[in-house]
Subunit: 332 residues, 2 copies
DNA sequence: GTGAAAGCGCTAACAC
DNA sequence: GTGTTAGCGCTTTCAC
């Protein structure tokens, strides 16, 4: 007959006629227990409806098996795919992901870090929020891998995509297709994706003998709507012949704005879009798999947990510029 | 000078010259501690770099503050928005979300439930996976709210959208726009969203004097590609004049397929799409905010934790049919 | 308002 | 292979 309270190992051990420790081992180190004993324990556990208490185990062993994951915005596809990639690797390595989203707010990020530390996460994977203090300071004292956005000093492990090259190729491609006045719409300068991708854009201009025109470079867009507004404004004031969006949100904003333009500009952007083929406007996207980025970040974290003395590593995922047709119809 | 080990309350208490219990109270029940004492404790904690141990607190108090959230697929926007809505409410109520994704596989779902129970989650919010056993059996014994997909018996709390009405309105609208042979592409019959939305579709046909044609009803699509294939097949075999996609993935598949059709059919589907306005093909979508659904689910769970004796509730979120223009350009 | 004692459920460490 | 002991860091309980 089952007890009133949630059954514990003690109950199982009693029912199986063994010591608590033996019952514990039957689960966590089955090889160290005789077959017959193990079976007795497992069947007693079954009977009583025993369920392992991860809280107690984590506390006693001081190994929580938890990994904190901080993204800025869960429902941005980049971040949700990143989280899936991370979760897959963690699950395969018997860890659990503790997921939080900072909304790109350093205060919320700090709270998340504090909360996650209180759960004794073994490490952290984070897309660092927009902040004036460098990630190295904010994530000090806990094994951390930065994902997507790079750090300042290189003191942390990080996994990014090939930001500079991606932006450079996309910009060069716009130029090859005839664009000369290419608007660059970015997020804040505090984020390396914006600054590094801007470098790539500038490099492509330079290589093609096009003078940098700062009036075409607009930073500080943090949402689809920001970007939409800025793109409209740029269009009416300066009529650029092409737009480059620094990330998926900004590119969406450009696409929305451009729907209202009489003469459609060329549009290119960073980050893939699952539905790019269905869009009315032609668009070129610097693509990669965010889940792969996440998987690499998780792998890197696990490795650095294994080997705490290893120097920080910086992994860079290659990107590929893909062209989507707009009103070209699918042949098959 | 800070200690070697992670400082504990004991260290803080010693440094502050008070009992451990007093130090504990200074954090968790500040009102029960004299101002002066509290300040001593807090400053000692600060100095030592003390960090609360949620593991120990959860274990001792048997209140983990954790809520398990099981979705089928994190990087489906429906699910990621749902998760965000849930997380917002939980965070505001000082709980943490433990997120997992079942990939619509009952085995993985069972593992997740087990794992989450082992972390002593106080309750569960789940989009139940495709399974032959009813959710009521799989989620027994733990306060649970089903989200998006309904249960079988009504014994669990659940929050869904107005599936039947949404599908009925969308179908009626297709008919009003001239469609007579409307294909319905659904997921498995085990999921209530498919069955309930199918009812709505059939109701609209009935109300408009259109005979049900089972050859136009195709179930069992579990991915964008499934739906794409089925839509192409239907198109070449039966040339329906409209398609209804039972969810966002399936509607995307229909959109992809229809890009290759000479005579574009009318397309309608369940679930919103942020980028619907940018699509080449006109589409009508039964829309609602998944984050709102999540927020309601979380609220319902918290209420039922407060009041464990309350009978299960069934909350239904209204939906709205929105039309997107395809090649109509944005005026402003 | 504060403290002392006990113990949550488990596993590390060591003994046999 | 198995058992004993101790204790992870906190909060509950009860005393003062």
């Amino acid at each position: 007959m089952p007890a009133e309270h949630e059954p514990t190992l003690k109950d199982v051990a009693a029912a199986a006629g063994v010591a608590v420790m033996t019952a514990s081992r039957a689960f966590s180190k089955p090889d160290l227990v005789a077959q017959a004993t193990r079976e007795k324990v497992l069947s007693a556990a079954q009977q009583l409806g025993y369920r392992h208490n991860a809280l107690a185990a984590a506390m006693r062993s001081s190994q929580s098996g938890l990994v904190g994951v901080i993204v800025t915005n869960i429902d941005n596809p980049f971040h949700s795919k990143l989280a899936r990639g991370i979760d897959e690797v963690l699950t395969a390595n018997s860890r659990r992901m503790l997921l939080g989203h900072s909304q790109d707010d350093p205060k919320r990020e700090a709270e998340l870090i504090r909360d996650m530390r209180s759960w004794r996460v073994e490490g952290l994977i984070a897309v660092p929020a927009l902040a004036s203090t460098p990630p190295e300071a904010r994530f000090a004292g806990l094994p951390t891998v930065l994902a997507g956005r790079a750090g300042k000093t290189g003191a942390l492990n990080q996994v990014t995509v090939d930001d500079e090259r991606g932006a450079q190729e996309a910009t060069a491609d716009l130029i090859a297709r005839g664009a000369r006045r290419i608007a660059f719409i970015g997020n804040e300068e505090k984020i390396t994706t914006t600054t590094t991708r801007l470098s790539g854009y500038l490099a492509a201009l330079g290589e093609n003998g096009i003078r940098r025109d700062d009036s075409l470079i607009r930073l500080g867009c943090r949402s689809v709507d920001d970007a939409k507004r800025v793109a409209k404004q740029l269009h009416s004031q300066l009529q650029p012949d092409a737009f480059f969006g620094v990330n998926n949100q900004i590119t969406l904003g450009v696409l929305e704005a451009s729907a209202g333009f009489a003469a459609p500009p060329l549009i290119s952007g960073f980050d893939g879009m699952d539905f790019a083929d269905l869009l009315r406007a032609p668009v070129s996207l610097v693509s990669y798999d965010p889940a792969e980025l996440g998987a690499r970040a998780a792998t890197l974290l696990l490795e650095s947990l294994e080997n705490p003395e290893a120097p920080p590593r910086h992994d860079v995922l290659p990107v590929r510029l893909l062209h989507y047709g707009g009103n070209v119809t699918d042949a098959n």
